[in-house]
Symmetry: C2
Subunit: 424 residues, 2 copies
């Protein structure tokens, strides 16, 4: 029964980019937030944007267990190019920092079982002043395909937002015509929103797998809060745009400026919001507790839920927020849910939140199997009238998963059928 | 030589409260930031303000090694009182939450080799609405002495700031007349500053060991930043007031809302600023990396430097700040220094800072032995012209200690004399 309903849910989505990619939000590693445009390979060889950096991160994504939990893209961001195109108008990777060239780097990444992403810009220049694709979009798309690129992030600096409604689809068509499936990540709506233009999301969904719609994330709780608020305050407008193959993109997962609790909050809400999980951290030095957050399989499973529905803020009062996302399994007309309780207060002491499942919108008379996704707590099968009480740390989160049960909840003890049904 | 100069330095300070206490900033544990006014011992027995909580924390301060590095006060904050005084006008601890009474709790703490602190308020009520000392200040001081209290924090809610110039000294005299040495922590200047009154710091220094002069800290980087800015922007006004026996009080050390880097920044700057180190954390659940920050002996040694000089911000530009504190040993006219480099930027990548010792004001021709206080890096003995380069994480810190050398720096290898001289 749940399978049939899942297919129905998928078939009702809007028309989307038909490259077969990003049916769930992409997962991987991206250089920008952590390494920016550091081109000083003489003074800072370990941290500059270079083929060595990406090879090292690809190595670590595999050896440190990130690939095993789903992270697969190794994505280059800005500052990989020479300042000028080559004699035939082709893009050239910086000869000192990428001496083996991008095809060799892609081969290295592919040999690891991973996928390779690259960055360009729709305008005359990238945001850091390297050559953009304007006027060369077909050639550049073909070049990316020849390099065996799997993912293209196309930024929007140095271009006219009014042109984007033509330019972004055009580059997308060039990508598709190469015959190589490449995830297409657009910055199209955010530049239009900044310019006061109301984006044509019907077209954006049709042409892009992902799109940025708000500020770049900075490595601070304040920045993360502003993004959380944007997603909550604009949810009725942006949630309908998300679905398998086409997702809103709230930007990267970072760490320096976030406390342990805050990092847990970001990971939980990114999963609730069906966000790409693009780590921008130094995998050589990341502390083990942050690594454990990024590798939390239960939360990743929420993020990667096949329904691809973006969750929403369902409660906000006195610094306490509750966020909820419908997920599989489905039974009859009832979804399962991931529910995140967020404490935005800063008065230093945990806050108690008590709520019935029914108040959260979990109304199936068959009940829900509820577990905590960070703490090893299994609440068992609860009826909609059960009140659950959680203690949420300041700037922290409690995230629960509630799987709807396929038959009427009874007070019998747990049986093996229940166990198989909900085990991931 | 250094000893003689040290004595000279001490003798030049202003007249201060003569109870012989707080010659260096007090260290201990305080309930407020973490446990607030949680009086719900039925619903939340593990976290309510009760004698059990303070006994548990006293146990952990010893068993987890905090006492061994200098933390000694176990300080009760607001919400320990019954709502009404007893039949003889005496203060009564809450009978349900402190059934053994405060003397028994003090005995428990003393038996652990620790000291016991208590909270009251100069006004009619404490900030949470329990009885204040107004009209009973002599009786209350004597009661605290009879309970063998070692530290009194006197808040300023429900009182007139204009009365404080009389009331705070009066209570201090009552404390002194008991014959029991008790650290006297005042909230006198902060309430006056809020009321637009310019505090009489000559009198405050004479009567108090510590005083709050700015907002209560909240468990967030934004709150910590506001305090850091206050101390930097007002440093010429407040630094002269600090010295052995009398210190500014920037409030507690917390953790939930601070990242690992941010917690390191608070600890380093609290040491630079000669601040009391009053942990307000849950010692039962604190993560090991935060515990290591609180127990960093090298940074505690800076905080507890016997000169008691409060450091200052000596550089601030584009999000990079340098803070510096003169410390022992002294050679001729040259201090040693603790120097903290703080990165207030949030763009996610570490910032390099390069500066000569001379530019930091470290001009002794004999040179300085320089070491990093968080990382295990010993720079050896450096001349004032040496340029040091540090990499500072976003919202993070690098803190160095530079010990002036007692004879002319030469290029000879390190000899045992140097080693003895600088070993802590």
């Amino acid at each position: 029964m749940s399978v049939i309903l899942l297919l129905l849910a998928l078939s009702s989505t809007v028309i989307a980019l038909d490259n077969g990619l990003a049916l769930t939000p992409p997962m991987g590693w991206l250089s920008w937030e952590r390494f920016r445009c550091n081109t000083d390979c003489e003074g800072d060889p370990e941290n500059c944007i270079s083929e060595n950096l990406f090879r090292t991160m690809a190595d670590l994504v595999v050896s440190e267990g990130y690939a095993a939990v789903g992270y697969e893209y190794i994505n280059v961001d800005d500052c990989w190019l020479e300042k000028n195109r080559g004699p035939r108008g082709e893009l050239v990777a910086d000869r000192k920092r990428f001496p083996s060239g991008m095809r060799a780097l892609a081969d290295y990444v592919h040999a690891k079982g991973l996928k390779f992403g690259i960055y360009e810009d729709y305008g005359n220049y990238t945001c850091a002043g390297y050559p953009g694709i304007l006027g060369s979009s077909r050639q550049d798309a073909e070049q990316f395909a020849s390099w065996e690129v799997d993912y293209v992030k196309l930024d929007g600096c140095y271009s006219l937002p009014t042109d984007m409604d033509v330019g972004y689809p055009e580059f997308g068509r060039h990508l598709n015509r190469t015959g190589r499936p490449m995830v297409y990540s657009c910055s199209w709506p955010v530049y239009q929103i900044y310019a006061g233009i109301s984006p044509n999301f019907t077209s954006i969904i049709e042409h892009c797998n992902l799109w940025r719609n708000f500020d770049d994330i900075q490595d601070s709780w304040a920045s993360l809060e502003s993004i959380i608020d944007y997603y909550g305050n604009n949810q009725d407008y942006i949630i309908p745009n998300a679905g398998p193959g086409h997702f809103n993109d709230a930007d990267m997962l970072g760490n320096f400026g976030l406390s342990y609790e805050q990092s847990k909050t970001q990971m939980a809400l990114w999963a609730i919001l069906a966000q790409p999980l693009l780590m921008s951290v130094d995998l050589r030095t990341i502390r083990p507790e942050y690594k454990a957050i990024l590798q939390n399989k239960k939360i990743i499973a929420v993020d990667q839920d096949p329904l691809g529905i973006q969750g929403r803020r369902i409660y906000k009062h006195k610094g306490i927020e509750i966020w909820s996302r419908p997920i599989t399994p489905i039974y009859q007309t009832y979804y399962s849910y991931a529910v995140a309780f967020v404490n935005r207060r800063t008065d230093g002491t945990p806050s108690d939140v008590a709520v019935t499942l029914r108040e959260l919108g979990l109304q199936s008379p068959t009940g829900y199997r509820v577990e905590d996704l960070y703490e090893d707590v299994d609440y068992g099968v609860l009826s909609p009238n059960t009140k659950i009480k959680v203690k949420v740390n300041p700037s922290g989160v409690v995230i629960l998963r509630a799987d709807v049960q396929p038959e009427r909840f009874s007070k019998r003890p747990l049986n093996p059928f229940y166990y198989r049904y909900t085990k991931k």
